[in-house]
Symmetry: C2
Subunit: 388 residues, 2 copies
């Protein structure tokens, strides 16, 4: 409801919620996390949108990227002109162990989870494959962490609203206060390389390579192009959408240094939009783990295969780089309320395109992309937006 109210408030010319004709909500597992299935009509009820059709979509962590796509398809069909697309997840009622298990159900239960795999270990395998093939280093991935926390520190809605330097300094200050041994870190890299600060979860994925367990929600209002300016002077246009599937288990794929579904969904979206990777000025990509971000920047065609980590290391994906990635802070720092992530990416793109991104604002963004991954890449959905 907070996200819905926030979405309504962005509609500067006003919108009567009763004008909304349908609701799509992405959610991974409210039944397992909260004992409440069938949340779509509850959302309609609480938002005062009954009796409008309300449908939940689920494709693991891509659930609301898919809700967005279904909303787009529905408007394109002509059945509706105004659709609410949204995502929500609340996980923190459960213990971390139970959340990890519940999330793992989105991997392959038969071949992966049954032998102990959880998502950190699956992305660790992607990371080691990438290291083996391209020489990717742990330090390069740490640069992704530092960048995303730098961005998240400027995002008031971020889960971890602090830079790694801030976190480091507050740890040092706390040690001093408590009369404990003062850590010797002098920069972020030293902090991240210290196993006492950044312990291994599933090597080479350490604590700060992993996105957190976040509660959150996001909403966006889609309207038919021809009526958009009745509601706002700040519309952005959906110009491309793509979605693809792949083998659920990593062993079913030829190569795990790239997500085939990412490449295919991206191709569809670029083709529909009539743009190329070079044209994209900003992207929110699915950095559930640091390795996922660098692989995504390769699969999206921003950098050649194997060059994503180097690009991150050189600052080319920073806010002031040639290809700003995850200015919101990304899943790592903004947080990863799994079912909400896809629409949350759209919110960042909309804010950036309309100059509402505050201290993390990138100037002149007129073409941007969102990239939302389900599980370890068995679903990927990509959207391209234009401000005209």
């Amino acid at each position: 409801m907070e996200a819905f109210q926030a979405a309504l408030e962005t509609v500067k010319k006003g919108i009567d919620p009763r004008e909304i004709e349908a609701i799509y909500v992405g959610n991974l597992s409210s039944d397992c996390f909260e004992g409440q299935a069938h949340i779509a009509p509850i959302m309609a009820e609480w938002a005062g949108l009954n009796p409008r059709p309300a449908t939940r979509t689920e494709d693991a962590c891509a659930s609301s990227g898919v809700a967005l796509r279904e909303g787009i398809i529905a408007v394109a069909s002509g059945l509706y002109d105004i659709v609410l697309v949204s995502g929500v997840e609340s996980m923190n009622k459960l213990t971390t162990a139970r959340v990890t298990d519940t999330l793992a159900a989105a991997a392959d239960a038969i071949y992966e989870v049954s032998v102990g795999a959880t998502f950190p270990s699956l992305y660790a395998q992607i990371a080691t494959a990438h290291m083996g093939k391209y020489g990717t280093t742990e330090e390069q991935l740490m640069k992704v962490t530092i960048k995303n926390h730098d961005n998240g520190a400027l995002n008031p809605k971020a889960h971890f609203n602090s830079s790694i330097r801030d976190i480091m300094n507050s740890r040092i200050a706390r040690a001093k206060e408590r009369g404990q041994p003062i850590p010797s870190w002098t920069n972020e890299m030293e902090f991240l390389k210290d196993p006492s600060a950044n312990p291994i979860v599933a090597w080479p994925m350490k604590l700060y390579d992993c996105s957190p367990i976040t509660d959150g929600a996001a909403c966006a209002i889609l309207v038919a192009e021809e009526i958009a300016r009745n509601f706002t002077d700040e519309p952005i246009h959906v110009i491309g959408t793509g979605q693809a599937s792949d083998a659920q288990a990593l062993h079913g794929r030829k190569d795990i240094t790239s997500l085939t579904a990412s490449r295919l969904a991206t191709e569809q979206a670029y083709e529909m939009a009539g743009v190329t990777p070079k044209d994209i000025q900003l992207a929110e990509v699915h950095d559930c783990f640091t390795i996922a971000e660098v692989v995504a920047t390769e699969d999206l065609g921003f950098f050649k295969p194997g060059e994503g980590p180097k690009a991150a290391e050189e600052g080319r994906t920073a806010r002031d780089g040639e290809k700003p990635i995850n200015t919101s802070g990304g899943l790592k720092s903004k947080g990863h309320p799994v079912g909400a992530t896809g629409v949350g990416q759209l919110v960042e793109v909309w804010e950036q395109m309309n100059g509402h991104a505050g201290q993390r604002q990138v100037a002149g963004v007129n073409l941007a992309l969102t990239h939302n991954v389900g599980a370890s890449g068995s679903t990927v959905v990509v959207h391209i937006f234009e401000r005209r």
Copy 2:
């Protein structure tokens, strides 16, 4: 996969599965029931449909009615010409108690489940309200059970492939075999009125008023109208679709002797189709409980409010009646694999319209309706089909 193969086999002119452009799968809770979320890409993988977009929809027991609707919308949008819509549920790995709890999560967790409500008790409240307002009797509801088992006995795919008379006679035969006291039942009503045969679950809902816990799946292939005859001489046309939402908890509704969402979804579908209730020659309605069937036949406009039970009693909804309802056996006898039910209803309609319904065939069905309910009526989705 069995349902998918069965669907392919109905395409008499042949279809290459690779022509299928997207997959929608309705499912209530594979994560809670089976520890496997994110089943849409698994279905794509197992069916050899990767990398096609694969999306799960969830609206409780209306999950695949909604998958069907999303498939229709997607074809209408022009994005796809050929879409697989499906539903699946596998519940029997859990104990009955755990299945009942997991299903109950689709009711209102805060107001209903927290105080002990499960679906039998919620529909019992609808039944007592209907009894109070209209004088509906337990005997009238038993007629629904008898009719649906009579139909299911003729459906080789039914979960309970036996008439109530067959069940009664086999109990008598078993008692004789075992030298136990011989029950004195001489007809189905006596059997159903005997608490030892038909115990109360939540009065007035007895065992034989409730649909069973069923594992099952259903698939259908939607194609754009202009290419349908490239694949089959037996297409049926979707001419109406409607979906509506209502308060999740019963207390949030003004009247529980009718489902408002049913009436609204039905109105939308009739309006789109340009037909009236009188025109419908056969309907599959959501009889998760016997009371749900008679309420549905009222909400769909087949009978006046309060007259559904009398119509059932008089045989007007039997296969040879004026308005055959649930010729498949319905959820009561065919079974209720919750996420699969919506598309399963379409399968029955397709078979009836094309003369493939075997012993339960109704002659000359050219206009039929499916009615799929989520939870106690917070989602309802209705479709109308025509054979030309």
